[in-house]
């Protein structure tokens, strides 16, 4: 029975006990949870487990295969790192809630990955939404509160779309299995599969559906963002890989995702938001990989997701440490921190080099799979865009992040080095980034498909170094010539403008109009009613003709009138 348990449930159920524990016991307990999860995972042979019948559907609550294994494994690692990174949090209510939310969120992400059917997927899908929003709210600011609500609406919206798609897909096919949907071109879409695709697309931050990410992640707590960055979007990538591998439209979508965020990232002042754009850009690579759909490409997606989770977490950890110590991550207010936070600086640079895909860092060995797959298929346009985006990544994540926070103009701030647990988490993540970069074969071994790919050829290394170093050169030139745009405290409009500015003001106007109109109508009705009432009261009130006592003569008169009328009627 226990062996059939979805590993995600270990984290979720384990989270329930956290509020009851205190101090070091709690810390150790929390760190052990993902360890147990991984052990459970490693001890389970591939297959499906935990069938549960409900509402006439059979839910496959635990499906373990090559694809889900990779994602499940990295999710556990991310959970471990995230917990470690957040270990300095106290036993206060708000911090406890963060722990619980983080564990449930991670568990839900793991659970979703191992879902064998759409209903189970939906359940965990929504659970990720609910649990994760607490990591934003826990920031405790008014902005975080509103951002959280917006974030949750988008996330749950994705969930209900998934549910709607599930329902329609079920009506179309009678099945709720979560396998490849057989959609490879736009023409193959049915209503159900399209809705599911759309739901995945929201969580995956497709262009125009992306802005929740940049809106929400920078508002979360320092530790929360680390956790957030790992699961939601990668779960979406996993789901796409599972259900829509080889869908052609994903290639342009993914390519767009890699390209457009870089422009926003250049001018963004909040470094955590820069990372959020960068996250978006990295997702693009994975989505392209899914779109290509070849064994190499899917391996690339899985590998890139794996390494991406680590280095993106590392970068967010670095920025989180800065936020934790300085209280802000705005580029305009940072600079020169390397003096007092050397370890953080080093780890962040390792993350930056990983994401920029320097050889012997993890990004290199995974991203090159996707580019190689594109090249294999001779998709030159997508390839060019991705190459361009790679240069862009270097700009915003490789250079901008470490440069503006730790170097650049000295802000004069001398914060303390990050707490030990943060450093430990960053250290482990950095070690993994380098380890994967240096010994990629271990990662390659667990990828979904067998492949024969050698990343470390002279050509690969030389071309990549050319790309990166010439881009660095361009940076130097731009800065020296003063063409590099200065950092300005600002917000930049994105699609969130539609629902933060346009929609509210339109709703407000509409609300005003409706209130006005209904007020008018009600007023009119009330006036009529009052008039009728007054009329009735005039004649039927105590002193009205009907209500008052009348003289007996008049009474008799009425009798006479009655007689006259009736006789008239008869005669």
């Amino acid at each position: 029975m226990l062996s059939e348990l979805n590993p995600g449930l270990i984290l979720i159920l384990g989270a329930v006990l956290v509020p009851l524990l205190r101090g070091p016991v709690r810390k150790i307990y929390m760190l052990l949870l993902p360890v147990f999860g991984v052990m459970h995972l490693l001890n389970t042979p591939h297959g499906t487990y935990g069938d549960y019948e409900m509402m006439g559907m059979v839910l496959e609550t635990y499906r373990l295969d090559q694809l889900s294994f990779v994602f499940g494994l990295i999710f556990h690692i991310a959970a471990f790192l995230g917990i470690l990174y957040a270990l300095h949090l106290k036993d206060t209510a708000s911090d406890t809630m963060q722990h619980v939310a983080a564990l449930i969120y991670a568990g839900a992400g793991v659970g979703a990955v191992f879902a064998g059917d759409l209903m189970t997927l939906f359940i965990f899908w929504e659970l990720t939404a609910i649990a994760s929003v607490f990591l934003i709210w826990a920031r405790g600011t008014d902005i975080a509160y509103k951002t959280g609500i917006r974030y949750l609406i988008v996330q749950v919206g994705s969930g209900v779309l998934l549910l709607a798609g599930l329902v329609m897909h079920k009506a179309e096919t009678g099945s709720i299995a979560f396998d490849h949907f057989g959609v490879t071109t736009m023409a193959d879409f049915t209503a159900g599969t399209f809705l599911i695709f759309f739901a995945f697309g929201i969580k995956c931050a497709f262009p125009f559906l992306h802005n929740w990410l940049q809106d929400a992640y920078p508002q979360a707590t320092p530790t929360g963002t680390v956790i957030l960055s790992a699961f939601t979007t990668k779960l979406a990538v996993y789901s796409l890989a599972r259900g829509y591998a080889g869908l052609d439209i994903l290639i342009p979508i993914g390519a767009t995702m890699t390209a457009f965020p870089v422009f926003f990232a250049v001018i963004e002042n909040d470094l955590r938001r820069v990372l959020a754009y960068s996250l978006n850009n990295q997702l693009g690579f994975m989505v392209v990989g899914v779109g290509v759909g070849s064994a190499l490409a899917l391996n690339g997606t899985a590998a890139h997701a794996f390494s991406h989770i680590l280095y993106k977490a590392l970068l967010f950890m670095g920025m989180g440490a800065v936020l934790h110590r300085v209280g802000t991550t705005k580029a305009t207010e940072l600079g020169g921190l390397y003096k007092s936070m050397p370890w953080t600086t080093v780890f962040t640079i390792i993350g930056a080099m990983s994401i920029s895909a320097f050889p012997f860092f993890s990004g290199f060995i995974s991203k090159s799979l996707i580019l190689a797959a594109l090249a294999q298929e001779h998709m030159w346009l997508a390839w060019t865009v991705l190459l361009f985006a790679s240069a862009g990544v270097l700009e915003h994540s490789g250079i901008k992040i470490p440069y503006f926070s730790f170097f650049a103009h000295d802000s004069g701030k001398r914060p303390k080095e990050a707490p030990w647990n943060m450093l430990a988490a960053m250290g482990i993540a950095a070690a993994l980034c380098i380890g994967i970069g240096v010994w990629p074969e271990y990662l390659y071994a667990i990828l979904p498909h067998a492949m024969d790919y050698e990343p470390y050829t002279p050509g690969h290394i030389i071309t990549q170094m050319q790309l990166l170093m010439f881009a660095v050169l361009a940076f130097v030139v731009l800065v020296r010539t003063g063409l590099y745009p200065p950092e300005i405290p600002s917000v930049n409009l994105d699609t969130d403008w539609l629902y933060r500015r346009l929609a509210p003001s339109m709703l407000k106007e509409m609300g005003k109009a409706v209130t006005h109109l209904s007020g008018g109508i009600w007023g009119l009705i009330r006036e009529w009613v009052d008039n009728i009432r007054a009329l009735a009261a005039r004649h039927h009130g105590p002193s009205g003709t009907m209500g008052r006592s009348i003289a007996v003569g008049n009474m008799v008169l009425w009798v006479m009138i009655g007689l006259a009328v009736i006789l008239l009627l008869y005669l």
């Binding site: 090249a375 001779h378 270097l394 030389i462 071309t463 050169l473 300005i488 600002s490 407000k508």
Partner: protein, 98 residues
């Protein structure tokens, strides 16, 4: 890197990365590495998938151009979408007041 002169700080406090001579060193290093990898292009056997890859130092040139473009385009984009930091605040507070 040039604008750190405007900062009012004692020379003693200047770190390694803030000294002008070190900047020069770093720039030199960068240029040297670029030249090195550019030259390396001629010393190994290529397996190009696309014809463009046969251009000497294609990746380097592409990287340089792409970077330049990203930054300059970003600067232009600013004119379109940049707003003051409190742009959304007043709106949302107005909503709360209702």
């Amino acid at each position: 890197m040039s604008d750190n002169h405007n900062h009012t700080q004692d020379d003693q406090e200047l770190g390694w990365f803030e000294r002008v001579e070190n900047h020069r060193l770093l720039i030199l290093l960068t240029v040297l590495i670029c030249v090195g990898f550019g030259a390396a292009d001629f010393f190994y056997h290529k397996h190009p998938h696309f014809s463009a890859e046969e251009i000497p130092a294609f990746y380097g040139l592409f990287g340089f151009a792409a970077f330049f473009f990203v930054v300059l385009a970003g600067a232009q984009l600013r004119k379109l979408i940049m707003r003051p930091e409190d742009y959304y605040d007043d709106q949302e507070e107005a909503q709360d007041a209702e």
